[in-house]
């Protein structure tokens, strides 16, 4: 399969009806003269047909939800009674916002100072990706539950970037894609440093270690030259060597 239309992934979009009308029309004209694309399209239809014959499984093996509901009920009960972090999220929504806002306001100066300090050390900066939010780490409070919730959210966002990098195919990278990844990594970098410092401050050594690894990956990504063909494989080796995805999984699964 060597046709560019196929290699670019456009054929997948055609199959899933995701191409804009004009491109769809154009690809439709291309198909009759391209054996590669027609064969690939036939294969996609064969995959759809074969998977459509698989059973539709939408309930536990027994078909009975009672055990599932009972297990969930116990889990929710535990959340309600034993986890102060969860209680802060579930039971005290509006009131705690004001508290967090107050913490954030008090700590804005700390955050700002730390960020400035890092930038003064010639750490590269780049425009923030759209939708990115920088948090003020509650560094002067010992409210570990708030810190845990914010750390978890930060990990959720960062992990997707790391996963994206780990599963990228270097052969299909475009400069625009790289630019986006770099901006995203850069936008997360400052927050990661702040969380790492806060974790160190709290004596959360394991978490600080994962943050340090994440910081290294994000930093390398932010510094990567899109034209360097070895950059992505190097990053992927780094992620693998540091076992970063697994470590982040452990933190988000088990909490702090």
């Amino acid at each position: 399969m060597t046709c560019e239309r196929h290699m670019s992934g456009d054929l997948d979009l055609y199959f899933y009806d995701e191409l804009p009308a004009d491109e769809r029309e154009e690809l439709g004209r291309h198909l009759p003269g391209c054996d590669d694309c027609r064969a690939a399209l036939d294969e996609l239809h064969a995959i759809r047909a074969a998977l459509a014959l698989r059973p539709d499984v939408a309930a536990p093996a027994s078909g009975d939800w009672s055990q599932f509901m009972s297990r969930l009920d116990s889990a929710v009960g535990r959340e309600r009674s034993t986890s102060p972090r969860v209680l802060s999220l579930v039971a005290q929504p509006r009131g705690r916002y004001a508290e967090y806002l107050a913490i954030a306001a008090l700590l804005a100066l700390v955050t700002f100072s730390v960020t400035l300090a890092f930038r003064a050390r010639h750490v590269p900066s780049a425009p923030r990706a759209a939708g990115s939010v920088q948090h003020s780490v509650p560094a002067t409070t010992k409210d570990n539950s708030a810190f845990a919730a914010m750390t978890e959210e930060h990990f959720e966002r960062s992990k997707l970037v790391v996963l994206g990098l780990a599963t990228k195919d270097a052969a299909h990278e475009t400069p625009a894609d790289w630019e986006y990844e770099r901006e995203l990594a850069t936008s997360l970098l400052d927050d990661t440093r702040l969380y790492r410092l806060a974790a160190e401050d709290r004596g959360l050594d394991a978490l600080a270690g994962v943050m340090k690894d994440l910081e290294l990956v994000l930093l390398q990504t932010s510094l990567t030259d899109a034209k360097d063909p070895s950059a992505l494989p190097q990053l992927q080796r780094l992620i693998k060597r540091r076992d970063l995805i697994e470590k982040m999984d452990v933190v988000t699964t088990t909490g702090l």
Binding site: D12, R48, D56, P60, V76
Partner: protein, 191 residues
């Protein structure tokens, strides 16, 4: 106010029966995606549990003007990616009960018996291959192929660039096509 937003509002206020009703309304969708992702009941059940616990934790974060299905899909996708297999890593083999389920539910009409056997085998191979895909590729494929979500919606839910999602879908489809080719070669060799 829709039934869902009403339930969320009441559940966020501590009404346990409202939360239960919410789970009952959406558990089929959640379980289906979890099973398509995990390929076995053990992991699917764990993922579905994780989803509803996350929903419970996040009840107060749901915006009334947002689409509940989008919000739920987002939680499901992240739970799938976060999930660590309970059983042997790298396997996606169907359990005995699932084999029995397949046998009992095999389609009886077209395609013909030989084609059906071939398609059944092919479907099984593809299902196994889906289970071997990296998590990112797998969730993108499941949400696009089975759930019919647009790439831009998947990208938004996962916080990734649309180009990244497109490449992950392409990589997933490429691997499935390779698996398909291998089955065809084997089937051709047998004929």
């Amino acid at each position: 106010m829709s039934a869902d937003t009403d339930l969320i509002s009441r559940a966020a206020g501590g009404d346990a029966s409202a939360f239960q009703a919410l789970v009952e309304r959406h558990r089929t969708m959640v379980y289906r995606v979890a099973y398509q992702f995990a390929g076995n009941h053990h992991d699917a059940e764990d993922i579905a549990q994780e989803v509803f616990i996350k929903v419970y934790r996040s009840l107060d974060q749901f915006r009334q003007d947002a689409q509940l299905t989008s919000w739920m899909y987002r939680i499901v996708m992240n739970a799938c990616i976060d999930h660590r297999r309970r059983s042997r890593p790298g396997t996606n083999a169907a359990a005995g009960d699932e084999a029995e389920y397949r046998m009992l539910n095999a389609p009886e009409e077209t395609p013909g018996p030989e084609d059906q056997a071939y398609a059944g085998e092919l479907g099984e191979v593809l299902q196994l291959e889906i289970g071997r895909l990296p998590k990112g590729q797998r969730i993108v494929f499941v949400m696009r192929h089975y759930q019919g979500m647009k790439l831009c919606e998947i990208a938004e839910a996962l916080g990734l660039a649309e180009g990244t999602v497109k490449r992950q879908l392409h990589a997933a489809v490429h691997r499935l096509r390779e698996a398909l080719s291998q089955v065809r070669v084997t089937a051709g060799g047998r004929a």
